[in-house]
């Protein structure tokens, strides 16, 4: 327990977390501080490219093994399965209609690449290595949860707006293409390729992450301010309970796969995080009757800050205690 608090305290005074807090505070104080949309998009492209490239270069150095394939399959299964657990929690803790509960559940089966990036930064800061292919696991976990949510809706007798173009848009969304693409480039070019662009993808990474999290803090704070009263106590409790549950399932999965401590942390983070980029857009198309304020506020306003501030240190401590033995 002491280690968890110590880790949490260290995490909370790190530049990346404090940047997020700055954004939150600025937003609550109604400052006119804002990051231009194109700049935020540029930072996001940079972070995705860098993390994908470094992951691929890592795999090139250590090779492919059965654990990599097992992790990819496990990730897909988790993404399909977690929405059902989320949906069950929501039915118990809230009075959300089926369609809203299903839409929220889809978010919690998918992943937050920003939380994943923050977790890799924390691990690097602590000198805890992790498997490079966890980036690919993140990419494959983006989409299957959407299918589960649609199944939940259709099972209840309601209709979802699904057409052929939707799947193409989901599977080929910019984040996935960039992540997988950069991963492949890193894998093909290996350590030599990484050395060539190290000054761009390694050294400035944390600084760029600070700016991006500043923007995320502004966005999360704005969303919380404007969505006051939308979420009940039960929904907020879900926003904390579900990531913890997901992390424990991720922990069990990582132990079964035999991942390193760092890999275990990342699997926990992936299972604990919730999407707020790809899945919300998919939900607007497929489940237009679902209220976007609910799922966006939960994933971005409750779960994301929880994971960033308390969740990641908790998962690192747990993984260290269990997988590190």
């Amino acid at each position: 327990m002491t280690e968890i608090f110590s880790l949490a305290a260290d995490n909370l005074i790190s530049p990346i977390i404090l940047s997020f807090v700055l954004g939150l505070v600025a937003s609550f104080a109604r400052s006119d501080l804002s990051i231009p949309e194109a700049v935020a998009k540029g930072l996001s492209i940079y972070l995705l490219f860098s993390i994908g490239f470094k992951g691929g270069a890592g795999v090139a150095a250590h090779g492919i093994d059965a654990t990599l394939v097992g992790s990819l399959i496990a990730g897909i299964i988790l993404s399909f399965a977690l929405p059902f657990i989320a949906y069950g929690y929501l039915r118990i803790l809230t009075r959300l209609p089926t369609i809203d509960a299903a839409a929220v559940a889809a978010h919690y089966g998918s992943i937050s690449i920003v939380t994943f990036v923050a977790a890799t930064s924390v691990l690097e800061g602590r000198g805890i290595p992790s498997e490079g292919y966890m980036v690919a696991v993140a990419a494959v976990m983006e989409a299957p949860a959407i299918l589960s949510a649609l199944w939940l809706v259709m099972r209840s007798g309601k209709s979802a707006d699904v057409e052929e173009g939707l799947w193409r848009e989901i599977l080929l969304n910019g984040s996935i293409v960039l992540l997988i693409g950069a991963f492949l480039i890193g894998w093909i070019t290996g350590e030599d390729g990484l050395r060539e662009i190290e000054a761009f993808v390694v050294a400035p990474f944390k600084g760029a992450l600070c700016l991006f999290l500043l923007d995320m803090g502004l966005v999360a704070g704005r969303g919380l301010r404007e969505s006051r009263g939308i979420l009940g106590v039960g929904a907020v409790a879900f926003g904390v309970l579900m990531p913890v549950t997901g992390s424990l399932i991720g922990l069990a999965t990582a132990l079964l796969l035999g991942l390193s401590t760092g890999g275990t942390v990342l699997m926990m983070v992936l299972a604990a995080s919730a999407s707020y980029i790809a899945v919300p857009a998919a939900m607007r198309v497929a489940l237009p009757d679902a209220n976007p304020s609910i799922y966006l506020t939960l994933s971005l306003g409750v779960t994301f800050p929880f994971n960033l501030t308390l969740g990641i240190p908790l998962y690192v401590a747990l993984a260290g205690a269990v997988a590190g033995q």
Binding site: E226, S227, A278, P280, A282, R284, D289, P292, S293, L296
Partner: protein, 103 residues
């Protein structure tokens, strides 16, 4: 200068639906339109602003189309088939254009 009567149709719709809407319009034979970004607004879902939209899910776009009056029904049918279940507004105004052969 000779002016010709036309209809100006403006559709404000959720950003993730833009592609589906333009495809529906193209299928209805409407291939001339302009898409404009929307900075923010307020409606039944509350106030929103493009600033700080981390996802396209929360944004809107405005699609403006100038057409001959006799093509209005086909356009509206195509547009409503997409807009119906989503957050959006369709408005039609009378306008005049030069170079009628382009519409």
């Amino acid at each position: 200068m000779e002016m010709h009567k036309a209809k100006r149709v403006e559709i404000i719709i959720e950003a993730p639906m833009e592609r589906r809407l333009t495809r529906a319009l193209a299928d209805a034979g409407v291939t001339g339109f302009t898409v404009l970004p929307v900075l923010g607004g307020s409606g039944r879902s509350g106030r929103w602003s493009r600033e700080g939209q981390v996802s396209r899910a929360g944004g809107m776009v405005a699609l403006v189309c100038l057409i001959r009056p006799d093509r209005l029904d086909a356009l509206l049918e195509a547009a409503l088939s997409v807009v119906e279940r989503h957050i959006g507004v369709v408005s039609v105004t009378d306008t005049e254009v030069i170079r009628a052969e382009r519409f």
